[in-house]
């Protein structure tokens, strides 16, 4: 297995994989650092002949990028905290407790994955509007609390915990809440990270709902903001294609999630693995 040839082959394969995976991102960054005139040529230069920050400068000057980023951070972080809290409670109940309608409730929750958000957006907006809560953080954060994936992951994880721990605690007279808080949650840290990362990504990258529910830059999040200059449907649009600025916007939007992921990637992979897709 560890033959020399095998080793070299493995590394060659690794390089190919990493290149294929990261090439589009590298190209995106490269384009963002080129002046527009250099982008308009047929020759391929991975390293820009002139490295310039003018695209980023233009974008920061013309648009309240920092405000949008702040909004995105606040929304994503608060939504993640909220979701982790709600889902760890709900997941535990669904995994561990006997009660009437348990399977039905879980099935209904899962079935929401089958409904596209284009249909739910309008009734949701009407509801928020009646409450006068459009164009602010609450409208962006609260709906994320209803996300399904986190509940699924937490339930999967809790299904895999041995009963002995809880039974021992119960014999000692601990209440359900205490068991949950003191024993179960600390064990669940990897799963909680997994839910946190998934929720953060989902909240950060969300476009359609924030588009509908925010109008002012004070509440607008990053994806909606940068869509203003990222020329949707570039092949079909007649607007001036400023690929440099578009790519700069893409880089700005992608950077925070990439950083978060890099910091937490070990917990993330571990967390997914502990959500109990176990063998027999």
């Amino acid at each position: 297995m560890k033959s020399r040839a095998g080793q070299i082959l493995w590394y060659i394969m690794l390089v190919i994989i990493v290149v294929l995976a990261l090439a589009p991102i590298a190209w995106m960054v490269s384009t963002a650092l080129k002046p527009e005139s250099e982008i308009a040529t047929i020759e391929i230069h991975w390293i820009p002949r002139t490295i310039t920050l003018e695209n980023f400068q233009a974008v920061f000057e013309k648009f309240p990028i920092l405000r949008w980023m702040l909004n995105s951070v606040v929304v994503a972080v608060l939504a993640t905290l909220l979701t982790v809290f709600l889902d760890s409670l709900a997941g535990y109940a669904l995994a561990r407790m006997e009660f009437w309608g348990r399977n039905l409730i879980f099935a209904v929750i899962l079935s929401m994955l089958f409904i596209p958000l284009q249909i739910t957006v309008v009734p949701l907006f009407l509801a928020f509007s009646k409450l006068g809560l459009t164009d602010n953080y609450l409208a962006l954060i609260l709906p994320i609390g209803a996300n399904v994936t986190g509940v699924f992951l937490m339930r999967q994880f809790f299904l895999g915990i041995p009963y002995e721990l809880e039974d021992a605690a119960r014999v000692d007279g601990a209440s359900a809440v205490r068991i949950w808080w003191a024993i179960i949650l600390p064990l669940a840290r990897p799963a909680l990270s997994a839910v946190a990362i998934i929720t953060f990504l989902s909240a950060w990258n969300s476009f359609f709902w924030p588009l509908i529910v925010t109008q002012s830059d004070a509440a607008r999040t990053l994806p909606v903001g940068i869509a203003q200059f990222m020329t949707l449907r570039p092949g079909l649009s007649m607007s001036v294609q400023l690929y440099g600025q578009s790519m700069a916007g893409a880089v700005i939007a992608a950077l925070p999630p990439i950083i978060v992921f890099l910091l937490l990637q070990r917990q993330f992979i571990q967390g997914i693995s502990l959500t109990g897709i176990k063998g027999a």
């Binding site: 308009a40 203003q228 079909l236």
Partner: protein, 433 residues
């Protein structure tokens, strides 16, 4: 590490409580919501204009929201459904009827009666007419734009062509001379190699502008699109086919236009095409290229290929949505009056101002390249008024016009069959309530 995370989270939570998110802290007396679908340099120009107003008018502040047209209208629709609209909404004139059909736009006759600036006489006739529907005025025209012909002066000189083409015959001849293979032979010449073309005479759209180009030609033949009562398709199949055939042949028979083009301005700037059918919005980019790289361009009116001059066009018009706060309407009108008179800056975006005073001003008339477009204003034709506008003419959906245009240009489909299919589809769309 954990401590750090905990502190970070705490900070963010505190920030969220402190940073105002509900409404901006110091709200001026009136804040107008102005939505427009401009992206790119257009958006910058309008933002600059709005800032000018905001600086001078602290008690009426205008909040400009820009987003691509499609998502903009999505948000508008949903907001209107909740009885909340922006105070001013920009759109293109043919889009007015569908919003009127939904009861979303306010007729402007009262506003016009009371205003001293917003009067039909102060605007170009055609522009004013295009923003009216069903006998009422619903939009205040901001600008007009239409197709024109941009061409590369250097390439023209190299091919020995003195003037830009004015007729279909001239267009074909010039395009042939300007289409070169790698051996330097031009199209139509003995030994021309259509498989190795390095330079094309002209561009050919594969998006909705293919339909708009066809629309110009079809109107040059005097063809009608919808019946007078707007209830059925009135396309003359022979004329329609002839118009499509001309465009299709440019690509597949004459080989003077590339197949499957997607980046038309870049192809023009990189000398891949010698001519470019496009609108005045392209000029800032061309002017930039001329200044930076010495790109030598000029423009001319869209050639008259068939019987009489006609060219597809549209424009931007400003409407007052009906579900906005009526108390703010007065302020909105004030802003619009100022905008009309002070829109010379908007002309820099390439669009042609519809307000006569600005249009006729020396500042505007002396801008390079605008003459070719100004001269076409009287012969501009817009898409027909219909409440089913999106279902027939929307450009990001498989509407009959998009299907027809793309099949004919991309797939070399039979124009006659495609026209018939499109007409049938249009009829069934108009038939359903």
């Amino acid at each position: 590490m954990k401590q750090l995370l905990r502190y970070a989270v705490l900070c963010i939570v505190l920030l969220a409580l402190v940073v105002p998110s509900f409404a901006t802290t110091a709200r001026e007396k009136v804040t107008l919501e102005f939505w427009g679908g401009w992206t790119g340099p257009d958006a910058d120009t309008m933002k600059g204009i709005v800032k000018q107003w905001n600086d001078k008018n602290p008690d009426i502040q205008v909040n400009l929201t820009t987003q691509a047209w499609s998502p903009l209208f999505d948000a508008f629709l949903v907001a209107a459904g909740a009885n909340k609209s922006p105070d001013i909404l920009a759109m293109h004139p043919p889009e007015i009827p569908q919003f009127v059909g939904l009861g979303l736009l306010t007729p402007l006759d009262d506003v016009i009666a009371k205003s001293t600036v917003i009067k039909p006489d102060n605007y170009l006739d055609t522009a004013w007419k295009f923003s009216s529907y069903d006998g009422k005025q619903y939009g205040i025209p901001l600008d007009m734009h239409m197709h024109g012909l941009f061409y590369n002066v250097d390439l023209f000189k190299a091919a020995g062509i003195k003037d830009p083409p004015k007729t279909g015959k001239e267009l074909l001849e010039d395009a042939r001379l300007l289409t070169l293979d790698k051996n330097g032979k031009h199209a139509g010449e003995q030994g021309f190699d259509p498989k190795n073309i390095v330079q094309y005479g002209i561009n050919m759209y594969t998006n909705h502008h293919a339909f708009y180009e066809w629309y110009s030609l079809y109107n040059q033949e005097g063809g009608k699109f919808l019946s007078e009562d707007g209830k059925s398709c009135a396309i003359d199949v022979d004329k329609a086919t002839a118009a499509w055939q001309f465009l299709q042949d440019l690509v597949y028979k004459e080989n003077v236009a590339p197949q499957g083009q997607t980046d038309y301005p870049r192809d023009f700037l990189s000398k891949r095409t010698a001519m470019l059918v496009d609108g005045p919005w392209r000029m800032p980019q061309l002017e930039d290229s001329q200044a930076k790289d010495g790109f030598n361009w000029a423009d001319a009116p869209f050639p008259v290929i068939f019987d009489k001059p006609a060219v597809w066009g549209s424009g931007h018009t400003l409407t007052l949505p009906s579900k906005a706060d009526p108390a703010k309407q007065g302020a909105a009108v004030q802003f619009l009056e100022w905008l009309a008179a002070n829109s010379t800056a908007w002309a820099k975006s390439g669009n042609l101002p519809a307000f006569k005073a600005v249009m006729e001003s020396k500042d505007f008339q002396s801008m390079t390249g605008r003459q070719a477009f100004i001269s076409q204003m009287p012969v501009e034709v817009t898409l027909p008024n219909t409440v089913k506008y999106n279902q027939i003419f929307a450009t990001n959906a498989p509407t009959p016009i998009m299907v027809m245009a793309q099949n004919i240009i991309l797939k070399q489909a039979d124009p006659r069959a495609e026209v018939k299919t499109a007409c049938d589809t249009i009829n069934s769309i108009l038939a359903t309530p």
